[in-house]
């Protein structure tokens, strides 16, 4: 009954999204205010509908109702409660339901927190959100109905892939979708701007909070997935340039460009058209990512043909939304007047260079990801484009972007003094080179590319700190004045420093682990001492026990440095009888400079075990850096300027318009 209620609520959400798409747009074109205000109500109803539907599906998983097809296929009564709940989105149908839930959530949030946005703009934005919703509700209802029942319910479910029964990956999809789907708001604001013809700094200010939320979520989602791969897959890898990873990385890159160009619109009323185009492209790449992953086309062209209904449907939606937005852009953008002027040496140009590099980097990832597919369609040739290509083609562009990110904040708006900028850049280079020398003295040089990488990370860190110091008046002021100024810095400035600083720290971590990692793979007898970099790993013994829905062997590995015990690692090897699959749980101890990492492998029959021991320097910095980058957007979001843009209800009543 509850499941049918969910199905009904889903249909209700579709109806609400149709109303949300049509009525406000008609009202906007006719100047009918009450029709425009339907948008807010429709967004609320739509959200209630989809939230009810999602709740009903979650209920089916929680009570293990195996008459629901996807619960039978993806759940099991003996699963811990957490994974019964997260199992809701660990399958195609449920994850699409989560997708539209996020979409409706953003719609209702715009309606609630966007009361300051004039009703013309707000209702048009919500109308576009509604149009996106219609397509995806139809997709779910027509091709991927999560509420489908089976005639003969099985006694128990088939369980969920044990690799997914992990807290890290359980919350990876909601965060990733927060980003993917969150960029729909940028798309809607861009399309609404083209429809209403209103594009100005106020528009950018209304849009910016939503971009910040989406970008923060996407950053965290990507990092969480990467972290999970690192500790769960058991060999210390964290990024593989797999097409599915690239599908989430492309919106991130273009979204980063959008985040930066929107600042120019807001502060200087320039780059209007370009920002609109970026907003459309960012969400288009999210849609393309959804298509690539959902259609199965990446596995092979032939997998697409085996389930053409879903793939073709998303492809149709993709063509419709992206095509319509681009046509609208081509038609309306010539009427947009570009405002503020700026010199070649200016913050505006700096942000344009960021945009250029992010877009080029995204283009390389796009070409590399789709090239094998395109080639196979054209002449049937099968080639592979793997990590070596991306490392060679993408990383240099990203390296240049990081160099530019160091200088960018030195440039002042409108017209920067070239001599000052160059002098500060030279100072940055000297300090970074000096620190590089120290690093080499301590850690030694392994390869020249790594050397360059370390320099770039140092450059960005030094430049960011230098800019912060200059901003608070150091070294010319007393410490207490400097401290007061630091506290008084606007939150958006903190966003900049945290974001760029986080990137420097994360990059340093990536480079450190690529250059200085120590790895030993060996058959080990209990008690045997293995040297890994500066550490010695000793396998103490293995203990067999059981968990809630698995059996497990837990090894005890003691790690020594210079004869003193540093840590005891507990790597596990689990066996999930329902799914008939093993998983490995790495034993990890995080130190400030790196991770000690041990993986328990198969027994060799003679009392020994295949062990993988690693010392991964820099890895904790990677996660710290990613966390800082993600937080930087939220800090920026709390800036006063944006709070004025998204005020409380009570103030909206007092404030008739912008």
């Amino acid at each position: 009954m509850i499941v049918e209620l969910g199905h009904f609520a889903l249909i209700l959400a579709l109806v609400a999204s149709i109303i949300q798409a049509c009525v406000p747009l008609w009202g906007m074109l006719r100047g009918n205010a009450s029709a425009m205000q339907v948008a807010d109500r429709a967004a609320e109803v739509q959200f209630l509908g989809i939230a009810t539907a999602f709740g009903a599906l979650t209920y089916a998983f929680v009570v293990s109702d195996f008459s629901v097809r996807i619960a039978a296929l993806n759940s099991h009564s003996a699963k811990p409660m957490l994974y019964k709940v997260t199992g809701v989105w660990a399958n195609h149908e449920g994850s699409m339901l989560l997708w539209v839930l996020m979409l409706a959530l953003f719609g209702v949030l715009i309606s609630l927190f966007g009361r300051m946005i004039p009703v013309r703009m707000r209702s048009t934005v919500l109308s576009v959100q509604g149009m996106i919703g219609i397509g995806f509700y139809l997709f779910i209802l027509l091709t991927s109905n999560p509420f489908e029942r089976v005639a003969m319910p099985p006694l128990d479910g088939q369980g969920m892939n044990p690799l997914l029964q992990d807290p890290g990956v359980a919350f990876h999809p909601p965060l990733l979708y927060l980003g993917y789907v969150g960029f729909s708001t940028a798309f809607s604001f861009a399309v609404a701007a083209l429809i209403t013809g209103r594009i100005d700094p106020a528009w950018a200010r209304w849009m910016r909070p939503w971009i910040l939320i989406a970008w923060s979520g996407l950053t965290a989602g990507i990092a969480l997935g990467s972290w999970w791969a690192y500790y769960e897959l058991g060999w210390g890898g964290f990024w593989f340039w797999d097409p599915v990873e690239n599908a989430s990385f492309m919106p991130w890159l273009i979204g980063t460009a959008l985040l930066h160009s929107a600042i120019v619109v807001e502060k200087r009323n320039a780059l209007l058209k370009w920002t609109i185009l970026l907003a459309i492209l960012t969400f288009s790449l999210s849609l393309i990512g959804t298509f690539l992953v959902r259609s199965g086309i990446l596995t092979s062209v032939h997998a697409f043909a085996t389930d053409p209904e879903r793939g073709a449907f998303i492809l149709l939606l993709l063509a419709l939304y992206i095509g319509a937005a681009l046509v609208l852009f081509a038609w309306r953008s010539p009427q947009i007047n570009e405002g503020g002027v700026f010199a070649i040496w200016s913050r505006e140009t700096g942000l344009l260079v960021n945009n250029l590099l992010m877009a080029a980097g995204c283009g390389v990832v796009f070409v590399g990801t789709l090239y094998p597919l395109a080639l196979e369609l054209i002449n049937g040739a099968k080639i592979s484009v793997g990590a070596p290509y991306f490392n060679q083609a993408f990383l240099p562009i990203f390296g240049i972007a990081m160099l530019a990110a160091g200088i960018g904040p030195f440039l002042s708006w409108k017209r920067a003094r070239r001599a000052v900028v160059l002098r500060r850049a030279a100072l940055t280079a000297i300090v970074a080179a000096a620190v590089l020398g120290l690093v080499l003295l301590v850690a030694g040089l392994r390869d020249p590319v790594g050397l360059l990488g370390v320099f770039i990370a140092l450059w960005l860190a030094v430049a960011t700190l230098q800019d912060l110091a200059v901003r608070i008046g150091l070294p010319g002021v007393k410490p207490d004045v400097a401290l007061r100024r630091i506290i008084g810095l606007p939150r958006s400035a903190w966003g900049l420093y945290l974001g760029h600083g986080g990137l420097a720290i994360a990059a340093a971590g990536v480079i450190a682990v690529s250059v200085w990692k120590s790895e030993v793979i060996q058959t080990v007898q209990p008690g045997e001492r293995i040297a890994v970099g500066p550490y010695a790993f000793v396998l103490d013994g293995i203990e067999n026990t059981t968990g809630p829905n698995y059996q497990t062997s837990i090894a005890t590995v003691e790690v020594f440095r210079d004869g003193t015990l540093v840590s005891t690692l507990k790597p596990e090897r689990r066996w999930y009888p329902v799914e008939q699959k093993p998983t490995t749980e790495a034993g990890i101890r995080t130190l400030w400079h790196g991770d000690l990492y041990a993986v328990l492998g198969d027994p060799n029959g003679g009392g020994g075990f295949v062990m993988r021991y690693y010392y991964n320097p820099g890895v904790p910095w990677m996660w710290l850096g990613a966390l800082l980058i993600s937080l930087s957007a939220l800090v920026s979001l709390s800036d006063r300027r944006l709070r004025v843009g998204a005020p409380s209800r009570s103030r909206a009543a007092l404030q008739p318009a912008e």
Binding site: N91, H92, L163, G296, T299, G339
Partner: protein, 160 residues
Amino acid sequence: MIRHLSACLLSAAILMLSLSIPALALDPGEMFDNPAQEARARDIGRQLRCLKCRNQSIFDSNAGIAKDLRVVVRERMIEGDSDSEILAYVSERFGDYVLLKPRMAAHTYALWSAPLVLLGLGSFFLIMYLRGRPLTARAQVLSDEDRARAQHLLDGEGSQ
């Protein structure tokens, strides 16, 4: 199939293909004693794709064919082949599909030139844009719409 797994899973739990077993790929029995030689074997292994897997190098894969290919790589190394000779040896037998780093040829020119072409085109447009901009600000005027709204407000009817 570790990389295959990460592929499916990193992706927002989308695309749940049939997932296979994450056993440890490299078997200590097949390894070289000399660390430098072993490192070289792994570097080569990372550039070759496991044929059974979706996007995984033979170094990371535990599939039987990946192990066979690792053994082939080690044999060629003992024979004294250079890295590129070994890669050519394997791709002659299994096709370009095994090369994770596509070789430079007519059908991959577009791929390999992509970074330079994209950067070049981008820079070109950027420079054209920066040079073509008017150097004086256009006077900021109210749009008709804003004017109408201002009038509307002046008439005391509110905006919402």
